[in-house]
Symmetry: C2
Subunit: 408 residues, 2 copies
């Protein structure tokens, strides 16, 4: 069983990190470097958006099976920047490589921020040089890199856990993430702008890739703030083997631990969605296929009407059923069970295709359930055995404010 502990990316052995202010952003930290003392097996999930940012293009082309360092900047996404953007992404890798005495192919690169502006490489080079000198481990360094990758995020997203493998080895998993807008990742391993860095001192072989896609699909890829998939989504898992355990590819304890850490990070991203006041969890059960279950979760958490109803605790559950009808998944309306949970309340809504409540007073119960920081929507299609869970947030005045004045 995984134990969640206070930690971050440098909690696993052999990892160091730094976060600095390079000047790309006006005041806050905007550049981070993560470093592993030994080359780590690298598993990378990239956005499936067909307009891919320069760093994504560069990383996909090189497709290195191991990485020793990753550089991340915020404030500028280096997306829609043509040939010059590609050159800048390569130059970022080279700058880190030369500071840390690495082969540039051993350096990963990620960017997040405004789309369509060229990078100020003078500032970036200065930041890289400083960050490489300030590398260290411990909670302070964890916090600096987690802060350096934030854009409209209001909270740092960190999580760590430890788990004992079947061979007795105690391994650590640490992770950070950023992301609060343009969030609907659909990351494919080798071929997710949430940027996430997951570190572990467990040992993994390249064959772990498939399992990792599955965990990504159940965690990061089930978060949606606005249904808009970024040009920059990237999630990197680095496993440096410093715990000296056996290969953990098939260790159920490890797999469950990684899933737990990544799911926690995914939930935090949704909870910190732009302008969000509530976390919405959608659980679909009894679906005919896994794809149906995921499709329905996404249709519900992306519906502006469902999201704004939850913001206002408006018991307009008809909108959830509208989303069901639009999802394209298989169901018989008469068999569908819809339940809304919030706080200690669990309110069944439907019976044989029609709402249980008709009277105003009964509807009030639904409003009370919705009036919580976390609202769970449960849909049991009762037609099959597949299920999926996903996370989103409410649509608020602040979402509009933040996004009506982002570039300015």
């Amino acid at each position: 069983m995984v134990e969640i502990i206070d930690g971050g990316v440098t909690t696993p052995q052999g990892f160091k990190a730094a976060g600095v202010h390079s000047g790309v952003k006006y005041r806050s930290l905007d550049l981070g470097v993560l470093y592993s003392e030994v080359p780590a097996s690298a598993f990378v999930g990239y956005t499936s958006n067909n307009v891919k940012a320069a760093p994504v293009q560069v990383m996909m082309r090189e497709n290195s099976p191991t990485l020793s360092a990753v550089v991340i900047n915020s404030g500028n996404a280096n997306a829609l920047t043509g040939r010059r953007g590609i050159e800048d992404a390569i130059a970022m890798k080279q700058a880190v490589a030369s500071e840390l005495n690495l082969d540039p192919v051993q350096v990963g690169v990620m960017s997040t921020g405004l789309i369509g502006r060229f990078m100020d490489m003078h500032k970036i080079r200065y930041g890289i040089s400083r960050a490489c000198r300030e590398l260290g481990s411990g909670r302070e360094c964890d916090g600096l890199i987690a802060e350096a990758i934030m854009t409209t995020d209001t909270i740092k997203k960190e999580c760590a856990g430890r788990v004992r493998l079947q061979d007795g080895t105690l391994v650590y998993i640490g992770g950070i993430s950023k992301g609060s807008g343009m969030i609907a990742p659909h990351m494919k391993v080798l071929h997710g702008t949430t940027l996430s860095l997951i570190t572990t001192d467990a040992t993994l072989s390249p064959a772990f890739r498939e399992k990792w896609q599955e965990i990504l699909d159940d965690s990061m890829n089930m978060v949606s703030v606005d249904g808009d998939q970024s040009t920059n989504d990237t999630c990197i898992l680095l496993a440096n083997g410093k715990a000296n355990g056996k290969c953990a590819d098939d260790d159920p304890e490890f797999i469950e631990a990684l899933r737990t850490v990544m799911t926690r990070i995914a939930r935090t991203i949704a909870m910190d969605g732009e302008g969000a006041t509530k976390l919405i969890e959608v659980q679909v059960t009894g679906a005919d296929t896994k794809e149906d279950a995921r499709k329905l979760v996404k249709t519900i958490i992306n519906s502006p009407l469902v999201k704004s109803a939850i913001f206002g605790s408006d018991p307009n559950y008809g909108r959830i059923m509208m989303a069901l009808g639009n999802s394209g998944c298989k169901f018989n309306l008469e068999d569908v069970r819809l339940t809304i949970k919030g706080g200690d309340m669990e309110v069944p809504i439907l019976d044989s295709g029609a709402p249980i409540f008709q009277e105003e007073r009964a509807v009030e119960v639904v409003r009370m359930a919705m009036d919580n920081k976390e609202v769970t929507i449960l849909v049991d299609l009762a037609i099959g055995r597949e299920s999926a869970t996903g996370w989103g947030c409410d649509l608020t005045y602040d979402y509009v404010r933040i996004n009506a004045e982002y570039a300015t």
Copy 2:
């Protein structure tokens, strides 16, 4: 050439209409009846949402090739109402039939409003009886039925035109529509909550159905306020032949006139989207397939990030390209041309895959173009010959306010 005139659904010969207050809504008009003196050829497009409201289910099952009357109520969508909803929808048809001495199969029914509440049939019957007694033609009656079908709409949506057919006959087309939220219709003829009623005194045969699907696809089905397709979308075209012209199925003048009237109504729906301050028109040209062109239009007009950027006149055109990458359509980034138009300004944005503007002062030009009541986004993919145009609106504080307190 069609001439747009001041008119509505009773402008074509032989149509009468009424709009009354039945009491389903607190104060405003909430029930309308449209009547044709002779049975009219009926073409109906229904929502493709798989949770279909009771009136949609009833109409689809009967699938009558001709209709003499249509009853519409607002305030209650009669959706998610199970068996009782079906009985109520049938009872609405029967009530109109008995008032007007018609076969119930000759009566169409549409509902719009809150989902998941049973109809108050006592009020509905009273409203039907009054509306049937008050049927009349002329601008006043046009206005009453147009008002009776409004929900969160802030303006009446009416349009009329007249056109001379190739055989010399002068025919009239009139239309009304409602819809400002839960708008992303994808109506299929016989198998589209915008409710629309289009009347004409031209003569049409059942074979016109295919052409009508095409016009629907280019007009109503290209409107999106929130990407949420309603359980109730229905668009009815009634052609009663009272102009005594030849069959207009293949008359290019008629087809163009109908397209013009329906496109004008579609634009009005987008312009009156919930909370909207701006109309967004997206024109895609040079697409590989028609489907690609439509898909891209929809991805752009549905993106909350694009919509809120336009609300704030925030020149964040990177978001339009993010939407392009997510649309799934075929393109070469280097060939894509993006132009933003507003007022008298037409601003080219991209050159060879990167934005033309980098400097703050140049970006101001984009902001000025966006600071208009109508903003047009032109995307030329330059890869094929297909095109599509669609309409949406900005995402504003008022959208959130309206939808956070709709049921209350």
